[in-house]
């Protein structure tokens, strides 16, 4: 089909060619052809994901004692590690969220958030398999009464959005 179009164009050199938007990636290679609408869509997904992680991080940063307890409920890590993570992870989520908003350190932030949501999801499944009745702690008290399916569905939706952002192969600002 592409060959046919090429032949048609070579026969009519003055024909009006369709305009396409080509973006260069950070390393200078032509990455893909983008439609402005799809760019806006990806940007919206960016901002939604960023908002989710900033909100979740902020809630947990405000109450690290509760978050340490929530991590401990999974019965995977020793208590001192749960405490250390309760102080550290919320800020990691917040910084990665802001990195998505300003599109600095973009791929680094995407990598970290993807790894985090994968770990959270696996921990949730592991807890369910072991019969633990856990409070996920994802969004502080807002998620206190979430059922396992709701918890899992939220995690998987976020994971799917992160994967979509990965494969959308956009052009982040260089470091």
């Amino acid at each position: 089909m592409g060959g046919v179009a090429k032949n048609e164009m070579s026969k009519t050199p003055n024909a009006q060619l369709p305009t396409v938007h080509v973006q260069l990636s950070a390393d200078g290679t032509t990455s893909n052809i983008k439609h402005p609408t799809s760019s806006t869509l990806w940007r919206m997904v960016d901002l939604i994901i960023a908002g989710i992680f900033i909100y979740a991080g902020a809630i947990k940063a405000l109450d690290p004692v509760q978050f340490a307890s929530d991590i401990d409920n999974y019965k995977i890590l020793p208590w001192p590690i749960s405490v250390a993570l309760a102080f550290y992870l919320p800020w990691l989520e917040i910084f990665c969220g802001f990195a998505l908003v300003v599109r600095l350190l973009y791929r680094g932030a995407l990598s970290i958030l993807t790894a985090l949501i994968l770990v959270f999801t696996l921990a949730t499944i592991a807890a369910k398999v072991r019969g633990l009745d856990i409070t996920c702690g994802c969004f502080g008290h807002a998620s206190q009464n979430w059922s396992f399916p709701a918890h899992l569905a939220t995690n998987l939706a976020i994971l799917a959005a992160l994967v979509v952002l990965w494969v959308s192969n956009r052009s982040p600002k260089p470091l």
Binding site: W79, L92, R107, G108
Partner: protein, 141 residues
Amino acid sequence: MRSSLVRQVLFLAALALAPGVGEAVYFRHKISWQSAVLPSESVTVDQARTWGRNVIWVDARPDEEFARDHVPGAVSLNEDRWTELLPQFLAVWSPGTKVVVYCSSLSCNASREVARRLRREAQLPDVFVLEGGWEAWLKTR
């Protein structure tokens, strides 16, 4: 490109350390690194017994376990039926009374959660978690 990605990940990971450490310092008196319960918020069976009648025992275990056996005079208050059981507990509580919450064993979390909610949501002072829980009580019975 891969080294750039690793650099970005490491930079973000390092960036989050600073406020994390700051927060750990700020909350140093509100959380223990050794135990999930602050020493000032836990009590042994022997200590609790010395309080005599000035104590309400709260059983944070599921209903079936409470029905099977419990500390004499204990009130059932678990998170599964929190809204239903809390008023029943508050009806027997009076100011100045100490509250001792227990669950199954040293490793359970229910007593910690119930104690935390009693402090936060019911604004009760003098709420303690029983070290070792029901198992510890059985050993000293």
